[in-house]
Point group: C2
Chain length 131, copies 2
């Protein structure tokens, strides 16, 4: 996939993955994939996100051409965020990741508890061997 | 998806997304989805990753139950990394994200250039209005 021949391309792709793989990005895209939302609606929907992080993430997604910001000339002006055509296309694999995590988080937690237990035991046996 | 009613569940899912959405995680899973690999092979395949970051990411993935570390009792011992059953299931949506980025990175770059140009213009017009 990433050979030495296309190192530049891979660096580019890594950087985009780093941006788009961000948890807030994924949660925001999952929400906007359902319907366009205003800032305050989005903030309520993405539990735990701060005002500042939502602002920054939306701006980065707008810059990436994934999210569109529409200002309606009402009084006061209404601002709505929606997915662009590129964003709708991206929301498909993003929903895949999100749904998988929702379905499997219990199994991941079980694996972590098991790993920590096993590693705790390894630490103990090392202590015994050392003493 | 994330209502106030299941805030704890969403915090959990967010945390897992943050871990698994990481760019190195995605690139490592994409590689191991093709075949099991030794540490050095994986390091060559995931262009740009440091020894330390590969070690840390593999250990985190092992803890999550996504990656399995197998030690073969040869001299010297051969250590191989592969996806677990949970990891194989996760590699499907991950491949979806990775492939999408590979296919659309040019379009994202074009969107960014366009956004920066437009925002540069906005800054200029503000300057003119102020003066």
């Amino acid at each position: 996939m990433c050979s030495a021949y296309d190192h530049n391309k891979c660096t580019t792709v890594s950087e985009i993955l780093a941006r788009l793989g961000d948890k807030w990005t994924i949660l925001i895209i999952m929400q906007l994939g359902e319907s366009p939302l205003r800032f305050s609606e989005l903030k309520r929907a993405v539990v735990g996100i701060s005002q500042r992080m939502l602002t920054l993430t939306l701006r980065a997604l707008e810059r990436d051409g994934i999210v569109k910001r529409t200002v309606y000339p009402t009084v006061p002006p209404r601002v709505e965020y929606s997915l662009t055509e590129l964003g709708i296309s991206f929301s498909q694999p993003v929903k895949g990741i999100g749904s998988w995590v929702f379905q499997n988080h219990a199994e991941i937690h079980a694996a972590r508890a098991d790993f920590d237990l096993r590693n705790g035991e390894v630490e103990d046996s090392k202590l015994i061997r050392i003493s």
